[in-house]
């Protein structure tokens, strides 16, 4: 059998295969380097960075639920300066794309991060807008099309790198938000971030998380994410990276068929650190089995009965 082509282009970002690892689930890459050949990954989206280091939420920060995980890490991170100095040189050794996830509390924060990372040299930016805008009374950037567009614009003005905006599912109309960020200059969207959630210990009657609430990830998220992506792709025809509960090649293929041009593996890295590699191999096997020579043949190929 001949070779199948797995390379994709998501907006301006070229990937050798459509499988990345999601922000916050793969640290800064080095944590998994002993277990996973990082060269094989389509890309690594690193843990969300802010201008200043952030200490994060009080423990407990994790609770498992049926087919899912609720986390309340609180965006703990070492800050952009230390990332550039201490983590980026290591990541640069690998033949994979480095996408840096950023978040802030004002438009200025986002612009500053974009400028610093562009100067340092990374392959793309992923903008987490599931964050409170301090000036606007803590309203999330990601829940309002106007501020989502303004954040995107603030980032795009400071960089010529491909920009992906990571959308939160906690909105009434995700298409409206996606459209706003694309019009503001984003190359595409990453969908989705975790879904707000909580869990209670019935014996102590206390919340199981130190932060009371957290974000739900894992297999239980997949059907929700798929439906949202389908809505966005069919209305807007824009580049999407699909995220949510991808545990296997079959899960990833569902996203690609619905129209995501790439996928990110998140929580599954904890369960099996080699999930992303198995997903790549599984996609290749699937393409061979169905006699496709190029992954592009299946992207967005979903057949909707008339």
């Amino acid at each position: 059998m001949g070779k199948v082509n797995l390379a994709v282009k998501v907006g301006r970002l070229e990937l050798k295969n459509p499988v990345l690892v999601a922000s916050g689930t793969f640290g800064y890459g080095e944590e998994y380097a002993q277990l996973v050949d990082l060269n094989r990954l389509g890309g690594i989206v690193v843990k969300g960075l802010s201008l200043e280091p952030k200490i994060g939420n009080p423990p407990p920060r994790l609770v498992e639920t049926s087919c899912g995980l609720i986390n309340a890490i609180g965006l703990e991170n070492i800050g952009v300066e230390r990332f550039i100095k201490e983590k980026l040189p290591f990541l640069r050794q690998f033949e994979t794309k480095i996408i840096v996830n950023i978040f802030g509390y004002s438009f200025k924060d986002y612009a500053g991060l974009a400028a610093k990372l562009t100067a340092a040299g990374v392959n793309a930016l992923e903008v987490n807008i599931s964050c409170p805008n301090i000036k606007e009374g803590g309203k999330f950037f990601g829940t309002d099309p106007t501020s989502a567009a303004a954040v995107t614009k603030a980032v795009c003005e400071e960089t010529d790198l491909p920009v992906f905006v990571k959308l939160t599912p906690q909105v009434t109309d995700i298409v409206e938000i996606a459209q706003a960020v694309i019009e503001a200059g984003a190359d595409g969207v990453s969908m989705i971030n975790t879904f707000p959630a909580m869990a209670v210990d019935i014996h102590t009657r206390r919340p199981k998380l130190g932060n009371i609430t957290g974000g739900l990830s894992g297999p239980c998220l997949k059907p929700i994410a798929l439906k949202m992506i389908w809505e966005v792709v069919r209305s807007l025809h824009i580049p999407v990276m699909g995220i949510g509960g991808i545990m296997s090649a079959a899960d990833a293929l569902e996203y690609l068929i619905v129209g995501a041009q790439a996928v990110q593996v998140g929580t599954a890295n904890f369960v099996n650190p080699r999930t992303a590699l198995e997903v790549i191999d599984g996609i290749e096997d699937y393409l061979r089995l169905h006699h496709f020579k190029d992954i592009k043949s299946i992207i967005g190929s979903v057949l909707i009965p008339k």
């Binding site: 916050g24 689930t25 994790l62 498992e64």
Partner: protein
Amino acid sequence: MFLETAKVVEHCHFIEPGAEIFHLLTLSAPKIASSAKPGQFVMVRVGAAILDPLLRRPFSIFYQGKDTISLLYKVIGKGTNLMTTWEPGDKISVLGPLGKGFKIFSSEPQWLVAGGAGIAPLCFLGSRLREKKVSFKTLWGLRYKIAPALMGVIQQKLGDLIIYTENGSLGYQGLVTEGVKRLRQEEKPEGIYACGPLPMLKALFRWTKEEGIAMQVSLEANMACGVGACLGCVIETKEGYKKVCRQGPVFNAEEIKWEK
């Protein structure tokens, strides 16, 4: 650190009327076995294609064989419940060895103080201390007695130990924290290694502080990755949050903010 497909070699269930139930699982995992140090742990995947329970479960290494590791565990919830059904020949995905282990104190005598399943990392440590001919004593606090067969396994690794049970069905009646005070009348330890429930560790810390005795503790936290990537397993220390999976699970007791 290795990701190994381990085979169940032996699975013993120490079940007896009136006794605290433990399970002893021996896995053939040559790479992990040959590099494991006392106090380190592994993350065990509960089912290969199973998504619920989703996450791996952390367990201390109870002892190390030539190509094997043994885990001593209690049933807590759905993960450990499913584990009890594993039979010899079953294949299990194991990630390890993880974390930093115990640092052996330089002077003697030393004490190991365990509560419940907290005996697991201390048994591995104790067998290492015996090899190094370090003089030590072990105190183990339990709710009830345990099956004699399990006692046999532990004595073979650790030598004699002092047992405290809450209902007095084995050894002395009372808490192990009373046991340390009694033993202190005989000797002063140069260092204590402890693992067990948080209230026990807190009480021990207060006492060791009054007595001026150094202590290392092995702590637990909910974990997702086990390798320092998710930042989910932090505990509060005097130098801020630290990851139990990477900077621990063994810490110097003075480092920890116990009041939290």
